[in-house]
Amino acid sequence: MGKAMGRIRVWWLLLETAYGSRAGLCLGALVVPVSIASAFWVAHSSAQNRLAWFLVYNFCLVSSTLLFASKIVAAGAIARQVLGRSITTRHERLYRNLLLGNRALWILYYAVAAYGVAYGFRYSPSVTSRIFYALGVLVIFDELKKQGLDFLKTASPSRRENLSLAGALPILSKCAECLGLFFTPKFREQVYNPIVEEDKADLILALQKYQSRAGRVGVFLCFLSRFCFRILQLVAVSGLPKIISWVWPFVVKAKRD
């Protein structure tokens, strides 16, 4: 009876961890549609509105990713704890405090928002320059430009400046960026990024070739499937032997038992 109750308590805790508090659940439910909607707005809105939507999009995307990642990590920790020995009230209180009650989590949100602002500035140099002009800061930049130090031009050209390519490119690029975080920095630099960039170049050429709406949708779907296959290939190249070597002892043990 006690064991069963312990299991129920663990499942309840896992559920609570996954969904957070009621407010967390509402926030999680809101974040996904808002981020999708703002991604589309980023691609299709005018230059003035683009930055604002871009910031919202980035904030939602990154904060939700971090939030769910932290929850997954905590759920994994609880599961490990349960597998090892029974969960104690002390551990329960620790995880509750960490995920539900800790106000320090909001610092993370502010950091993410700051990151979103910086990221938005990086990809929207035209909007950035307008804001700086409005604030009167650009006088300093003009002076620097005279001295050969053009700060705003050092930012990479905006991917959203060319509206004819908007839509598929930012979405796939974002997916690629996020998925790249699963790999080590070295693997990302030497293997993952060159692959993504080559595919991106192909995508740009394909989008340039097929200008109609139906053609674009077709290209987007083709590249989406290609991207999925790339991920599988990457896993096969990098992680499969490791996964097999990790899983195999468990399989052998289960077979023996």
């Binding site: 990479s156 050209p157 991917r159 060319n162 390519l165 490119l169 693997f187 030497q190 293997v191 990024n193 060159p194 692959i195 960039e197 080559e198 595919d199 991106k200 170049a201 740009i204 050429l205 340039q208 790339r230 290939q233 990457l234 096969a236 190249v237 990098s238």
Partner: protein
């Protein structure tokens, strides 16, 4: 005559890169022309190994495709790679000589 330390495919890559700087796409296309088709991850994994072994050096170069910026990975041979390439050439020359001598012996 010592055996070369690199595989045939690795030698082919070093041979394609040669004395200049080549992009990954260029090297992959030349490999495909010679009948060695490899998927992008497998190719870049191989290049990564060559890079780690000190045969080649890679750098990321910005290129423009239809007004959009993409980053290409460019490779060039390092001293170790050049030496290895020379060793393989010596090995092949030695092999050719041995073959021709063998032929002469069998004809004689």
């Amino acid at each position: 005559m010592p055996l070369p330390a690199i595989t045939f495919l690795q030698w082919l890559v070093l041979e394609i890169i040669g004395g200049s700087t080549r992009s990954g796409k260029y090297v992959r296309d030349r490999l495909a022309e010679r009948g060695h088709r490899k998927s992008l991850p497998a190719f870049y994994q191989m290049m990564s190994r060559l890079e780690d072994a000190g045969f080649v050096r890679a750098e990321s170069v910005r290129a423009t495709v239809c007004d959009q910026t993409v980053t290409e990975r460019h490779y060039r041979l390092m001293g170790k790679g050049i030496r290895e390439l020379a060793d393989v050439r010596d090995f092949q020359a030695g092999l050719e000589i041995a073959r021709s001598q063998g032929r002469q012996v069998s004809h004689g």
